[in-house]
Amino acid sequence: MAALLSFEGVGKTYHLPPRESIEALSGIDLEVQDGEFVTIVGPSGCGKTTLLKLVSGLIKPTSGRIAVEGTPLQKSHRRLLSMVFQQPALLPWRKVLGNVLLPCEIQGRGRGEAGAKARELLDLVGLKDFVNRMPGELSQGMQQRVSICRALISDPRILLMDEPFAALDEITRFELTRMLLDIWSIRKKTVLFITHSIQEAVFLADRVVVMTPRPGKIASVIHVPLPRPRKEEHLYDQSFSKCARAIHQLLA
């Protein structure tokens, strides 16, 4: 079965005038299967955000190729993707519901049924009572939940998440992590999740991609043998510590 997403020898070099260049990524080979939850962990500058930007089409690789179900990545694949950023990036002039519906408006999908779906998603993340509020009235954790709903409304096959919980406090973070897994178990999607928290990486993932910087390379891909659904007890499981330790050693 062809992988949903594959990277073959992908590299990205940024050229900075006048003569400098930075090799952000080098020789990335990775295959992501349909329905997998893959986390990417590594220190700053290891190219993890660059990797996500390559998939989303924000930038193009300087070498190698990225393919979706065997076909080289092209503009039409954007419909299959959704992205959640570190900042909620909500439109402050629209209500919460309007923000969740933004992708539908842009992609020209029916607004009627989309409205019902948006409400359903907001209910799923616990924001049923905030549907008509403005983003400015919500805390950052709540705003990030809205941005997750926005990413899910187009029912993407691939969900790209760039350290979505990094700006939140630890308690909110764990709450949203569990919420994300709940949603993911209902609507199986392929997720590429960037984090610099090893604990988060192991807790969420089927596989953890460990990256090292300068230039950005994949040091190793660690399989997480924990059962699903993941529970808090798993944090103290032996397999959990084993994976975490392995990752620590790779990043040391």
Binding site: E105, I106, P135, G136, S139, T172
Partner: protein, 264 residues
């Protein structure tokens, strides 16, 4: 949330009225105590009396000047926004047209006023043009800054969602630019009044600027000040109108203090 807002505004209003009252009171006292002649500095009560007495005269000339101000302002909004949009999206125009506009702003407008009369005649057109020239640049600047300051995340979002240029502009970049535009509009509002008055100084047969020339040449203190009060009212009125529109159109751009925040 609304209760909090109202209380804040009421306090604000009371303070303004109070401070005005103090100024007027002190003014009245000083003129009396120091026996200042009416034609140099009339006492407030004389000014108020004059406002009533010459209401017809003030209304007649006021309407002319108001027309010039509003026409110039509206024209400046249209042209200013258009120029702002094309400059914001064209690096070439930013390097050329924008720079030329900046240079043109350092030419003292009062020097241009007589030329406008030569080019556009003795009528209303030269006055409207002057008001326009005085106030269109802040609008351009506001529009350009606003459109170029869309956050990286919002731009990336537009890209990932597959928005085309028009969708990105209408749904994201333009609304995000509105607070900046309104800052420019508020500056412009005050300058439109100045523009109209200056051009009337240079040449006019009607209008409040013209009235000022007449009243000062006649050393009519109270009427001079009455005209100034009306002009000030125009300036405050236009500014307040823009500020009110800003609150109505961009409520999200309010600074913290009058909002509620809900916790997680």
């Amino acid at each position: 949330m609304n209760g909090g807002r109202k209380r804040y505004h009421n306090h604000d209003l009371v303070l303004t009225v109070l401070s005005l009252a103090v100024v007027i009171g002190v003014w009245e006292l000083l003129v009396d105590l120091l026996s200042i002649p009416r034609w140099i500095l009339p006492p407030p009560k004389d000014i108020i009396t004059e406002l009533y007495r010459s209401a017809g005269y003030l209304w007649q000339h006021g309407l002319v000047t108001l027309g010039e101000i509003l026409a110039g302002f509206v024209l400046a909004i249209g042209v200013g926004m258009f120029l702002g949009i094309i400059i914001a999206f064209s690096p070439l125009l930013e390097k050329t047209l924008y720079k030329l506009l900046v240079i043109s702003q350092s030419i003292p407008k009062i020097a241009i006023a007589p030329m406008l009369v030569i080019w556009l005649g003795l009528g209303l057109l030269s006055k409207i043009a002057m008001a326009f020239l005085m106030c269109f640049f802040p609008i351009v600047v506001g529009m350009v800054s606003g459109l170029q300051s869309t956050s990286r995340e919002l731009l990336d979002l537009a890209h990932v969602l597959g928005a085309n240029w028009l969708q990105s502009f209408l749904k994201i970049r333009f609304p995000a630019a509105l607070p900046f535009l309104f800052s420019g509009l508020k500056v412009s509002a005050s300058m439109a009044v100045v523009g109209a008055v200056i051009s009337e100084f240079v040449n006019a047969e009607r209008g409040l600027g013209y009235s000022l020339l007449v009243t000062t040449s006649q050393l009519n203190g109270p009427l001079t000040f009455a005209v100034v009060v009306i002009l000030a009212a125009f300036g405050i009125g236009l500014f307040s109108l823009v500020a009110w529109l800003e609150k109505a159109i961009c409520p999200w751009a309010k600074s913290a203090g009058t909002e509620d925040r809900t916790e997680v």
